[in-house]
């Protein structure tokens, strides 16, 4: 009897304090989310839809915008693919092989996350310019890197570099040696083991890393604005176009192109979620 009454009381107390406890964190969460995230998102969507569907389409597909999407998406895709291959090799090397300075260099892979984007852009613009440390080796061949679309590519490779490596490393670490042992004992060569056995297992994670890097590269502004010349129809990326439109007080264009970018980043986010589910299912 005594026990049951005390447990009843506890339940009652819990219920009461539950509400008093929850209210404050909830209020803070909702206020901050609304002011910083939800209201601003509502503002951009409303602004771009008040122009009407026909005008929206016209602004979203104006020639300068189309060329900016082309530069942004194709270059980001190229950067993603290059990092898909190189990032896989880097992750493999850092998980499987031993060499001096490994730990330090491994930590340095996070440099693109640690350096502010304008700082990275400044460094890349200086090094890859025609008389820069690396750029000067390309000058005799007539190849200009900084202030061209190649510069945009270098900047995008730089900022999306850690994604594939960091997504793949834990997966490689957890890979069971039995799988490879089974493959050799059945007579597979090292190459066959990699291409036929390991790579299919790693593909979902590699694609997740590529998608994360692609998402980051498509939206990137800071690094690119310093490395590119941002000339329309040449190396102008979509985020910079948004800013230019805003500076010309062309709010409708800015909002519409911004909404296109927003929708695309939401689609990529959805894709990444699906990829992660796929790789989880694969792992089981």
């Amino acid at each position: 009897m005594a026990i049951s009454s005390s447990s009843y009381q506890t339940a009652e107390q819990t219920k009461q304090s539950y509400w008093s406890k929850i209210s404050l964190p909830w209020v803070v969460t909702i206020v901050q989310l609304s002011l910083i995230l939800l209201l601003p998102m509502a503002a951009i969507v409303t602004k771009s839809f008040t122009v009407g569907p026909r005008e929206f389409w016209r602004l979203a597909t104006q020639p300068i915008a189309l060329s900016a999407y082309d530069v942004s998406f194709i270059t980001a895709l190229a950067a993603g693919l290059i990092n898909g291959v190189m990032g896989t090799i880097v992750a493999w090397v850092f998980v499987r092989y031993q060499f001096p300075g490994k730990k330090l260099i491994d930590a340095a892979i996070d440099i693109p996350f640690a350096l502010p984007t304008s700082v990275a852009g400044l460094a890349l613009a200086s090094i890859y310019s025609t008389n820069g440390w690396i750029g000067e080796f390309f000058t005799p061949f007539g190849i200009k890197i900084a202030f061209t679309r190649l510069g945009v590519l270098v900047a995008m490779i730089f900022i999306s570099l850690p994604f594939v490596v960091r997504t793949l490393q834990p997966v490689l670490l957890e890979l069971e040696p039995e799988i490879e042992e089974a493959a050799w004992s059945l007579g597979a060569s090292a190459g066959q083991t990699f291409w036929r056995v390991l790579l299919p297992l790693l593909i979902p994670s590699i694609l997740t890393g590529v998608a994360l890097g692609f998402a980051r590269a498509v939206g990137e502004y800071g690094t690119v604005v310093l490395v590119a010349s941002s000339i329309p129809f040449k190396d102008l990326i979509a985020p910079i176009l948004v800013l230019q439109r805003l500076e010309q007080y062309d709010y409708a264009s800015a909002a519409v192109i911004g909404t296109v970018l927003l929708i695309i980043s939401l689609v990529i986010l959805l894709l990444i979620n699906l990829l992660q589910q796929w790789s989880r299912r694969y792992a089981e």
Partner: protein, 271 residues
Amino acid sequence: MRSNKSTQIFLIGLSLLYLVFLLFIPAIFIFYGAFHRGIEPFLEALGRRDFQQAVRLTLIATAIAVPLNTVFGLCAAWAITHRQFRGRSLLLSFIDLPFSISPVVAGLMLVLLYGRNGWFGGWLEAIGFKVIFALPGIVMATCFVTLPFVVREIIPLMQEIGQEQEVAARTLGASEWQIFRRVTLPSIRWGLLYGVLLTNARALGEFGAVAVVSGSVLGRTATLPIFVEQAFKNYLTEAAFAAAAILALFGLVSLVLKEILERRSHIPIKS
């Protein structure tokens, strides 16, 4: 896998070459650019008034944004882990959005909401409170891009420890604040510190979103990352590199602290 020695050496060499060209040379070049003519140009840049204003503005914005997002992170993580409700995963995805939205679009949203022609523009102007092209806008942009860091780090920890200890403390008569201070906080402290560190690093270095809302006026609304860009564009290369070196130093210190924390708290590697 039995890969032979030459493949191994080739792959290691290729990886290192890739990292050297893309990461190490740029990182080293920032310090070379700042100091290759000795320390004097560097000190001269430090003495500039627009530089000092940029440092002050960056520190003020970070000092406001980081505590705001830390409190938000704790509250949101608490709210999400202490109650089952419909739309929980939707809320989580919303909190994650700033990671995938372009910083420029983030800034644009704030301008469309709080700017002169924005929803709240007229009202804010009437009460004489400037958000865009002023400190509040810079703080909001910084809060936007750093929103998910603390929440993301704490939620898994709060889920892992469960609520048994909190319930026990409550049964013993502890107040909610006591439970938070004595029970919850000690078990999430490393994750919290990690999240705050990431928030802080990003807040100090945020460029895109702040560039949109601040108007980038040197000496007035330029933060340190904007100072780097503006100085570079105005051919003040030495000043740009001096500011870049200071920011890079902060970034590298954060990186080292992050490594240390990862080892201490066994937080797994993540992107």
